[in-house]
Amino acid sequence: MVKARTAEAIDSTWQEIRRGSIVLAALATLREEHYGYSLRQALLDSGLEVSEGTLYPLLRRLEGAGLLGSRWELGEGRPRRYYRLSPDGEAALEELRCGWRKLAEVLSGMLAR
C-alpha cells in the first residue's frame, strides 16, 4: 500500500507533468479555431480530459502571452469567444513540439529499462 506522503508526491508530480502537457495539447488543437467549450470537447475526443476550471483561465493566459488570438462572435445565439493560434503561437508550438519529441524519446528509453 502506498503511503500518504508518497501518494501526495506522485499526485503532485503527475499534476506538474499534466500542466505542461495541457498547454501543448491546447496549442496544438488551436491550429483550428475553437471556443472554450468546443476546445474542451475536442481535447476530450482526443482522450485528454481537462477540467473547465483549468482550461478556460489557461486560454486567457496564453492569449495574454501572445500565443493565441481571440475574437467575440455575437450572433443570434449565445456570444462566444473564439481562440486561434497566433503567428507567435505557431512558432512557439513548433519549438515546443521539437522539445517534446526529444524529451519523449529520452524518457521512453529510460522508462523502458
Binding site: 471556443y35 472554450g36 467549450y37 477540467s51 473547465e52 476550471g53 483549468t54 478556460y56 483561465p57 489557461l58 486567457r60 493566459r61 495574454g64 449565445r78 456570444p79 462566444r80 469567444r81
Partner: protein
C-alpha cells in the same frame, strides 16, 4: 438568478476590475453550455448546475487562475481577505481613538477646548498605530502565503449549493458603508448630547486671555429632540443592516423612512425662525469678551455665520433628497417583475 449567475458574480468579485466584465461574460457562456450539455444527457437542471460548478472549483480559486500566478508578497486569492482585515483594523483603531479622544476631553476641566487641543495628537497617534498594526498584519499574511497554510485548510470545502444562501449583488449591504455611517452617527449623537458647547467662538478677552463664547442658539435647541430622534432612527437601521448583511423590503422601507425623516428635520433647521447660532452682547461680555467685540459678535458676525450654516444645511438637504430619490428608485427596481422572479426560491432552481 440561478446558481451559474451567482457563481459568475462571485468569480467577478475576486478578479481585478479590468478583467471582470470580459471574463464574466465568457465564463457565463461556457458554464451555461456545459450545464445544457448535461441536461441533454437527462440530468435535471439543478443537479447539472451543481455538477458543473462543483467540478470547476471555488470562485476564489478559479479567479486566481484567471488573474495569473502570484507576483507579489501576497497572492491574488488572499488579497480580498487582506483588505478586509486591514479595514477591520482601521475601524477598530479609529473607534478606540475616538473613545480615547472623548474620554480625555470629558475628564478635562474645559471639555470643548480639550477636544480641539487633543485632536491633532489623537490623529497622529491613530496613524502611527495603524501603520504599526498594518505592517504586522501584512507580515502574518505573507507568512501564511509563503508557508502555504491556507490551501490545506480549504480542501474539500467547496459546495456550490452554498451560493444559494449568499444574497444577490443588489441585495447585499455595503458593510463598510454601514459601518462608516454607524461611526459617524454615534459621533454626532455623542457630540450633540454631551459636547455641543464646544461649538463656540474663541475671542480675546479683556485681560488678554482667550475667552470661549458658546454659540448654540434657540433654533438649534428647539430642533434638538427631532435631530436626536432622526439620528437614533438612522443608527438603528444602520446597525440592523450591518448585522443582517442583506437588504429586505422592510429594511429598504425603514431606511427610506428614516432618510425622509432626516430631510424633514434638516428642513425644520433651515427654516427655523429663531437663530441657530446666537449669543447676546451682554452674555459675551459677561464671559470676559471685550464689550466692543461682544457687540460685533452678536450683531454682525453671528447672523452671518447663521446664514452660512443654513446654506450648508440646505446643501445637505438637497444631497439627502437626491439620496432618498436614489433609494426610492432602488426600492422600485428591487420589487420589479424581473427582480421578484429572480429573488424567489424558484429562481435558484
Amino acid at each position: 438568478m440561478d446558481l451559474v449567475d451567482r457563481y459568475v458574480e462571485a468569480v467577478e468579485e475576486e478578479l481585478p476590475r479590468r478583467m471582470r466584465a470580459d471574463v464574466g461574460r465568457e465564463l457565463a457562456t461556457l458554464l451555461a453550455e456545459s450545464v445544457e450539455a448535461r441536461m441533454a444527457e437527462g440530468v435535471p437542471p439543478r443537479e447539472a448546475q451543481l455538477e458543473v460548478l462543483g467540478e470547476i472549483g471555488p470562485p476564489r480559486e478559479v479567479a486566481g487562475r484567471y488573474a495569473g500566478e502570484r507576483r507579489g508578497l501576497i497572492g491574488h486569492d488572499m488579497l480580498p481577505a487582506l483588505w478586509r482585515t486591514l479595514g477591520v483594523v482601521a475601524v477598530v483603531l479609529g473607534g478606540l481613538s475616538l473613545v480615547a479622544w472623548l474620554w480625555q476631553a470629558g475628564s478635562a476641566d474645559d471639555p470643548g477646548a480639550a477636544l480641539a487641543r487633543s485632536f491633532g495628537e489623537i490623529v497622529t497617534q491613530f496613524l502611527s498605530n495603524l501603520l504599526e498594526v498594518s505592517g504586522l498584519v501584512l507580515l502574518i499574511f505573507a507568512a501564511v502565503e509563503w508557508l502555504g497554510l491556507r490551501r490545506r485548510g480549504r480542501e474539500g470545502t467547496w459546495d456550490p449549493a452554498s451560493l444559494q444562501q449568499a444574497p444577490a449583488r443588489g441585495d447585499r449591504v455595503n458593510r463598510w458603508g454601514a459601518l462608516a455611517s454607524t461611526a459617524v452617527l454615534l459621533f454626532l449623537l455623542v457630540w450633540i448630547l454631551f459636547f455641543r458647547d464646544s461649538l463656540a467662538a474663541i475671542v480675546s478677552g479683556r485681560e488678554a486671555e482667550w475667552v470661549r463664547i458658546p454659540l448654540v442658539g434657540p433654533g438649534l435647541l428647539q430642533a434638538l429632540p427631532w435631530l436626536v430622534a432622526s439620528w437614533c432612527a438612522e443608527l438603528v437601521v444602520q446597525v440592523a443592516l450591518l448585522l443582517r448583511g442583506r437588504w429586505s423590503l422592510f429594511w429598504r422601507l425603514a431606511d427610506l423612512a428614516t432618510r425622509l425623516f432626516g430631510v424633514a428635520v434638516l428642513g425644520v433647521l433651515v427654516a427655523a425662525p429663531a437663530p441657530l447660532l446666537a449669543t447676546t452682547a451682554a452674555e459675551a461680555a459677561s464671559l470676559g469678551a471685550h464689550a466692543d467685540l461682544a457687540r460685533r459678535l452678536a450683531s454682525e458676525l453671528l447672523p452671518m455665520l447663521d446664514r452660512l450654516l443654513r446654506v450648508a444645511l440646505l446643501v445637505g438637504l438637497v444631497g439627502s433628497l437626491v439620496g432618498v430619490v436614489r433609494r426610492g428608485v432602488r426600492l422600485v427596481a428591487s420589487r420589479g417583475p424581473g427582480a421578484s422572479a429572480a429573488s424567489s426560491p424558484a429562481g435558484g432552481a
